[in-house]
């Protein structure tokens, strides 16, 4: 029995290691040929051996920021309302509805984006096309909202009852209690939620791919989020099938994947450090 367990565990470790090893090995030709300088080159055109990663990096950063800009206030407010202002039955209704929102598959979000968001953006901002970083960001905001909300709800719920009572007995009003006691106490949990949500926004493919426009160009000017652009994931999604296995193009796409993996690992490590600090 114990042998089998150990065997299964080792298999798991081995396959994970193999997977990551394949990721690194397959990107090697790319790094060897172009090196890290491709990170700040801004032209991606495989047929002319141009593999600048900057536009996709900037695009990914933008969609993450936009998503967080909308999702954080909204999700946090909903969590505060949910844990502090709603009565018990309504709380569980809220929990259920968040569960539903979290359960909508990303390709369905893509459908919603294509059919509601794009025409709406096109009309509201009078654009020639709704495909844009903003569209992707808004869609992602919907997708990461449940993560932020659930994590914040849990964090707020775990603020000890004594602390609340102590603050109330000091005669602090509700607003002050929220800002000076509740939020600081719940902050580590909320921050973990934000980091996890960022990871999700970074790695989301289908929905982003359908609405972002996939144009490999730096936004010009750089804060222009109303134009089509490219993210790391949408590029992989668009070109994964077309690149011949073993070619430089394929290797470059794997490099995109490796960058995604590294950034998401960094985010995970930040969550872990946070947890460790919280446990002390």
């Amino acid at each position: 029995m114990l042998k089998i367990i150990r065997f299964g565990y080792l298999i798991a470790l081995f396959s994970i290691a193999a997977l990551l090893w394949f990721l690194v090995v397959n990107t090697w030709p790319f790094w060897a040929e172009f090196g890290l300088s491709s990170l700040w080159l801004d032209e991606w055109f495989p047929y002319e051996s141009l593999y600048g990663l900057l536009p996709a990096l900037v695009g990914s950063a933008w969609v993450m920021m936009i998503a967080m800009f909308f999702a954080l206030p909204c999700g946090l407010a909903a969590a505060i309302v949910g844990s502090e202002l709603l009565s018990k039955p309504w709380q569980s209704t809220l929990r259920l509805s968040v569960e539903i929102l979290a359960g909508i598959p990303s390709v369905v979000y893509g459908l919603i984006g294509l059919w509601i968001l794009l025409p709406w953006l096109q009309n509201t901002f009078d654009l020639i096309t709704g495909h844009s970083l903003l569209a992707a960001g808004l869609l992602l905001a919907m997708m990461i909202l449940p993560t932020i909300m659930v994590m914040s709800l849990d964090a707020l719920r775990f603020v000890p009852q004594e602390q609340r009572e102590a603050a109330a007995s000091l005669g602090l009003d509700w607003n002050t209690r929220l800002i000076t006691v509740l939020l600081p106490q719940a902050w580590p949990g909320i921050r973990s939620g934000v980091l996890l949500a960022l990871g999700r926004a970074l790695g989301e493919t289908m929905a982003v791919m359908l609405v972002v426009g996939s144009l490999d160009k730096m936004p010009s000017p750089i804060y222009n989020i109303l134009e089509p652009a490219q993210t790391l994931t949408s590029r992989i999604g668009r070109e994964m099938g077309e690149a011949a296995f073993g070619s430089m193009h394929f290797s470059a796409l794997m490099a995109n994947g490796l960058i995604l993996a590294i950034i998401s690992m960094l985010l995970s490590f930040m969550v872990l450090r946070q947890r460790k600090a919280a446990q002390r």
């Binding site: 025409p119 096309t129 996939s214 077309e242 011949a244």
Partner: protein
């Protein structure tokens, strides 16, 4: 427990319900023909399973080179690099022909843009012309839709318009994938221009004429047949020389009378 699993696995492996499976991958332009032909073919050959999927000509040819599919669909000639890898191993059969139409939104067409010269189209794609006003339309920016680099339609279009199949289109404002996706974007916009197979044209996605030596020539099958339309092409099927008999039979079916009927029904020019 493990043995049961292994047993199940071996059952899965050994239990072939079909005599053979043929995977067909490639151009979304050729896809409607092959999908319909496959559905029809399977009715008379229930023992052969034919799966069809898109991805683009480049994907199809790559999959033949890599051996992940049995038949590839391509809506362009193979490039020199591809030929070097395919040489002597693959048979290339043309099953139909079509025109790559310069497709515009209905509103653009109705505002008076009925024909453009190749030079004008090239300027639009190079970013030198950015407003429909410059080519006889209303004052509206042009939504220039480019396609993913591996798409056959893009190769043919870029070859004819920009001079090289991999030429860059600096004026592009959007990249689309399949014909369906591009058709959807053009039909929902009022100021778009794109490249589409003539079979995808309809009321809200109009094909405009191309000016050749002052003469306006529309993307019709008639003009493809007489060779006057400048952006036309053959639709190819690639099959390895050592392919199985079933795969060869299916390709024969595509070139037969019944197959060519499907070609006609889907809006392409039969070669028979």
């Amino acid at each position: 427990m493990k043995y049961i699993f292994l047993l199940g696995l071996s059952l899965c492996l050994s239990n072939y319900a079909y005599a053979e499976r043929i995977n067909i991958v490639g151009s979304t332009t050729v896809l409607p023909i092959v999908s319909q032909a496959a559905a029809l073919y399977q009715q008379s050959h229930p023992d052969v399973q034919i799966t069809v999927s898109g991805g683009g000509s480049g994907v199809g040819i790559a999959s033949i080179i890599q051996g992940t599919s049995q038949i590839a669909m391509a809506s362009r000639e193979t490039t020199q690099e591809e030929q070097a890898q395919l040489k002597g191993k693959v048979e290339n059969i043309i099953i139909a022909a079509d025109a790559v139409a310069v497709a515009v939104s209905k509103a653009v067409f109705e505002s008076g843009v009925h024909a453009l010269s190749l030079a004008q189209i090239a300027d639009i794609y190079k970013g030198k012309i950015r407003n429909w006003k410059s080519v006889g339309g209303v004052d509206a920016k042009i939504l220039v839709i480019d396609k993913e680099a591996s798409r056959g339609t893009r190769h043919v279009f870029a070859q004819a318009v920009l001079g090289s199949s991999h030429a860059r289109a600096a004026g592009a404002s959007l990249i689309s994938g399949s014909n369906n996706e591009e058709q959807a974007i053009i039909s929902r916009s009022n100021q778009a221009i794109g490249m589409l197979s003539n079979a995808w044209l309809n009321d809200s996605v109009r094909g405009i004429d191309v000016l050749v030596k002052g003469q306006a020539i529309g993307p019709t099958l008639q003009h493809v047949r007489d060779g006057s339309y400048p952006i036309s092409r053959g639709l190819h099927i690639l099959i390895p020389i050592h392919a199985s008999q079933n795969a060869k039979d299916f390709v024969h079916f595509l070139s037969s009378k019944a197959g060519q009927n499907i070609v006609q029904q889907t809006g392409y020019l039969p070669v028979l």
